[in-house]
Amino acid sequence: MHMLVCGGTGCRASASDMLYESLKKEVQDNNLENEVQVVTTGCFGFCEKGPIVKMIPDNTFYVSVEPKDAKELVAEHALKGRKVNRLLYVDPTNKEQISDSKHMGFYKKQIRIALRNCGLINPENIEEYLAADGYEAMGKVLLEMTPEEAIKVVLDSGLRGRGGGGFPTGLKWQIASKNEADQKYVVCNADEGDPGAFMDRSILEGDPHTVLEAMVINGYCIGATKGLIYIRAEYPLAIQRLKIAIGQAREFGLLGTDILGSGFDFDVEIRYGAGAFVCGEETALIHSMEGERGEPTFKPPFPAQSGYLGKPTNVNNVETYANIPVIINKGAEWFSSIGTEKSKGTKVFALAGKINNVGLIEVPMGITLREVIYEIGGGIKGGKKFKAVQTGGPSGGCLTEKHLDIPIDFDNLIAAGSMMGSGGMIVMDEDDCMVAVAKFYLEFTVEESCGKCSPCRVGNKRLHEQLDLITKGKATMEDLDKLKNLSNVIKDTSLCGLGQTSPNPVLSTMENFYDEYVAHVTDHRCPSGVCKDLIRYEVIAENCVGCTACARNCPVNCISGERKQVHLIDQVLCIKCGACLEKCKFNAIAVI
């Protein structure tokens, strides 16, 4: 029996490493070392209920497991074969306990290609990766295929870049392969900066070798012998596992000189990002790797012509790479049979926000939002009403009720006014104000703009200021028109992808929720009750029992009232923190 303990960042944050130690100890104490193997794996994706422990082979899926549960798990499940019911996942819709992952809605519709090894193998053990067909694709390419043949497989598979742009990967490789140079570079973009997307990190944490393997293949295809992984310094666990993986791969001769006797040399180095979203843009990323400010430069020249240190460079994102070995092993035809006409394969999404099953999911292109939200995601949290899904992060837009049934792929999302982006998918409910959401994204863009070009540097600042005025009820209808024109000009004139997409959250919320904008402007009202300047908290006299909970929790002591008497909020002092509303058990506080 194998006990797989999730060792992803999310679960680790809830002490899964301690849980692992406790389980190991229990297994030892019960002399079960020969029967039961406790293994740390990468992320299972079901981050909502971490830490996760999965029992193999029966697929029992335990959620929210604490270190203190280890004893019971070993005594009951391992020793006696009895499931520990209280740790089983409960379906939020019908409140039934679900015994194994095969029956969980969260996993039913998923197809795991990029995440195939996450939650399956121990990422710190190359042997487990090798056992899971690891480096077989690399061997096949290096020894049995020409670069052209390998590129053709990638081209035919229809794989498109998963980092946001959606550029055909095979084509990118082909261009880079055709540029002659004494030295070329292969770069893995692991500078995932989209707030709310963490698939790249999960892959690196759960299956680092797959990225290395794909980079070797990429290097062979374009004629590069050096690979660089540009990774966020904020991802310590991913860095650590990557370092272990590189060390093991070198030790096994899978990186280095004359790999598998093919005569091909390739090695990989790690470069650290330092917290700049714009470095996800490939020219900015390259400047950053060269020790410069991560400011993008105009393309052309493209990195494939002149990239790192002026040499032809191919940049791909982590998730893109994670698909490569499978495509080589199973063939272009197999891969292209999944997905829609122009978007092949699967896409990993980070499902988050007001949804029951927060987590990382991998679904075939062409799945509908409805399936993702209601079947995989288990519906909206707390039974609230669905309002919108934000995809593509700060570059994307909002999808609404009317978009629920369109098949998700690169082109459909753009047509719907959003974009795939790196795969963040934030679900919002009736309590979210769309103007405030747009403002949130603009705040992000303003902070992350590099400042090189005027429309992005000044324009986004002005957009944010305008949105701020709207949320304060200080804007006019004329301002809304200006907002739209400014948004369009920023898109039209900015230097790089950041500025070219940063107004999307504004444009798409204006398109889909214009009423909300108008309500803020003309009625000075925030329909969702979010914008502090436009709301006030009041006590509903008939519901107030005078329990004093609100008054005791008010941080500025602006609520007065005797015990068992109706309380009163002093609107002048109130800072609208909402503490009273949270504390009131009698529905006696209302947002007006």
Binding site: E295, V446, G451, S454, P455, E465, T493
Partner: protein, 590 residues
């Protein structure tokens, strides 16, 4: 060369492959506006960050507008430069830039000469639809340059000049997003940085963010003080550029009008820095010959090459970057300082004016000169040899403010004796001139023969680094020339590494030498004006009867009456200097 055909605004144009839309349009006479693009062709500097986004145009088939300065032409491309979409975008972007810019044009030093202002006029901007936060920074007043970064539009031209061309590396883009600006390390003031005050940042700044310290007020105060005798000296490069400020074509010599204007402004004596340039040749040439003779005689201790020391930006650069080589440059002071020293001693005695009652003003193509005259070693009991240095631009303003119709002025001559000069002195104003002047004198002094052909064509030109051999009657003297501090650095690194075979090297901090100085009329990115100025300088040289410094009668007289001979103790005291290790000083200052 492969040719490409494209259509711009419905007109067909054929250009070389690699040409940008911006230049292709120019070929058709379509001037696409820009704020950040800068092409100093003669200096091989093309700055195209594609940052301002003013020059965007519509290219058929492209999703976004394309920056014409950075987009290369392609066969069959269809470009539109003034569609509604383009005009709306251009105006909106300009409005955005202005929305983060002070509205104090009336009192801005760059008013009337500001690219941003011109563009706002051109596009007829009347209101700014987006009011919001404006960037504010602490103004930085150094002895020579004022940084008012509230007016910075992030064109980054200064950064390119300071880093790529000058390799001084004082300015860098800092912060990001709305807070991004160009600044010295830790946003310290320039006088706490390794700034050489070469002023090339000022020369290329499109707005009032970088300007020179204005001393005109002090000069007016001195002129109106009846107790003061005010003496003015004008640098050679000024006369070749001043006319541009009055609408004259670049390269128009205005020496006589300038002298007349200075007299009208009330200067008591209008002298010429050229006089001091001849004096410099006497001192520096003697030093060169001395070192050379010793070297040829087998003296292993003697330091060669000798480096010229007339350029204060270069001296600063040297003091910060090569403190271990301080015995290499000539000890001769710059012409400005030699002039000041002689004016306040020899000449003051002659006209019987006390040192403290004399004010020496210099008109310089330079902003570093402002700093140079404040150096402590160039003062006696706290009284500086040169009191104020004003730039060509400041002089032009001064003349305009005095209601002088410059172009209608008659030509007048400099006063004597400190106004007399030779052709050798005039060419100090352009790259290669100092060393050519030195060669003319050194040749005759060394060989004892008369130099038949005074024009050393091999030393002239605009290449950043040049070298030539001069035949001193059988002895090959190897001469190196660099202008621009980046080129100087290359040359100095060779000297330091022992790879240099030069006997003498001339270095000027600014592109083209003083004619391209930081205090000259703004070239607005048109580097051809530098060539025109150089040509004017050489033509003045040619028109002179005397073209060798040692033939200047006033100089001969000065030595006879006062200094003795070149390199004498008195000459050393008044005309030579020493250098400081500013690298270590910098650390102490922090």
């Amino acid at each position: 060369m492969e040719l490409i055909k494209l259509t711009i605004d419905n007109r067909t144009v054929e250009v070389e492959k690699g040409t940008t839309i911006f230049h292709a349009a120019k070929k058709l006479g379509i001037e696409i506006p820009t704020l950040c693009y800068m092409n100093l062709k003669d200096l091989n500097i093309e700055h195209k960050p594609g940052g301002c986004r003013i020059c965007v145009v519509e290219v058929e088939g492209r999703r976004n507008l394309a920056p014409s300065c950075a987009t290369e032409c392609m066969e069959g491309m269809v470009v539109k430069t003034h569609t509604v979409r383009v005009l709306n975008a251009r105006r909106t972007v300009l409005e955005l830039i202005i929305s983060d810019h002070p509205f104090d044009c009336l009192i801005c030093a760059k008013s009337g000469n500001c690219d941003l202002q011109s563009l706002a006029i051109k596009l007829g901007v009347r209101d700014i639809p987006f009011q919001g936060e404006k960037s504010t920074y602490k103004p930085d007043f150094s002895p020579a340059i004022i940084r008012d970064m509230d007016k910075c539009i992030m064109c980054r031209r200064c950064e390119t000049m300071c880093n790529d061309f000058q390799t001084v590396g004082v300015l860098s883009g800092i912060n990001r997003g709305f807070e991004a600006v160009v600044a010295p390390a830790f946003e310290r003031d320039l006088d706490h940085s390794e700034c050489t005050y070469c002023g090339q940042c000022v020369a290329v700044c499109p707005t009032g963010a970088l300007t020179e310290v204005d001393h005109t007020k002090n000069v007016i105060a001195a002129l109106s003080d009846s107790k003061k005798t005010v003496v003015v000296q004008t640098a050679p490069a000024v006369r070749a550029a001043l006319g541009e400020e009055f609408g004259l074509e670049a390269g128009t010599l205005v020496t006589g009008k300038m002298v007349a204007a200075l007299r009208q402004l009330g200067f008591d004596y209008v002298f010429d820095t050229d006089f001091a340039a001849d004096l410099t040749i006497m001192e520096e040439g003697t030093e060169l010959l001395d070192r050379l003779t010793r070297h040829l005689g087998g003296d292993k201790e003697v330091k060669l090459p000798i480096l010229t020391s007339c350029c204060p930006g270069w001296v600063n650069f040297f003091e910060y970057n090569y403190p271990d080589m301080m015995d290499v440059p000539s000890t001769a002071r710059s012409p400005q300082q030699m002039f000041g020293a002689i004016a306040k001693t020899y000449f003051a005695e002659k006209i019987n004016v006390k040192r403290e009652d004399m004010v020496v003003v210099s008109i310089m193509p330079c902003v570093a000169k402002k700093y140079e005259c404040t150096r402590e070693e160039f003062a006696t009991d706290g009284n500086p040899d040169v009191d104020f240095s004003i730039s060509t631009r400041e002089l032009a303003h001064f003349i305009k403010s005095a209601n002088i119709n410059f172009n209608a002025l008659p030509d007048e001559d400099f006063d004597k004796p400190l106004g007399e000069s030779t052709g050798a002195a005039v060419i100090f104003g352009t790259t290669g001139g100092v060393i050519e002047a030195a060669a003319r004198t050194a040749y005759e002094l060394h060989t004892g023969k008369t130099l038949e052909k005074v024009d050393f064509e091999a030393l002239r030109g605009f290449d950043g680094i040049r070298s030539a051999s001069v035949d001193f009657d059988g002895v090959d003297i190897k001469i190196g020339i660099a202008h621009g501090l980046g080129n100087a650095r290359k040359m100095l690194d060779d000297v330091k590494a022992g790879r240099s075979e030069f006997h003498a090297i001339e270095i000027m901090a600014c592109p083209g030498g003083c004619i391209g100085g930081g205090g000259q009329p703004l070239h607005h990115g048109d580097s051809s004006v530098l060539r025109a100025r150089a040509k004017a300088i050489y033509s003045e040289d040619e028109s002179k009867v005397l073209r060798k410094s040692h033939e200047n009668p006033s100089i001969i007289k000065l030595y006879e009456e006062y200094l003795g001979k070149p390199g004498s103790e008195k000459a050393h005291h008044l005309l030579h200097t020493h250098y400081f290790d500013k690298k270590s000083k910098q650390v102490l200052l922090d």
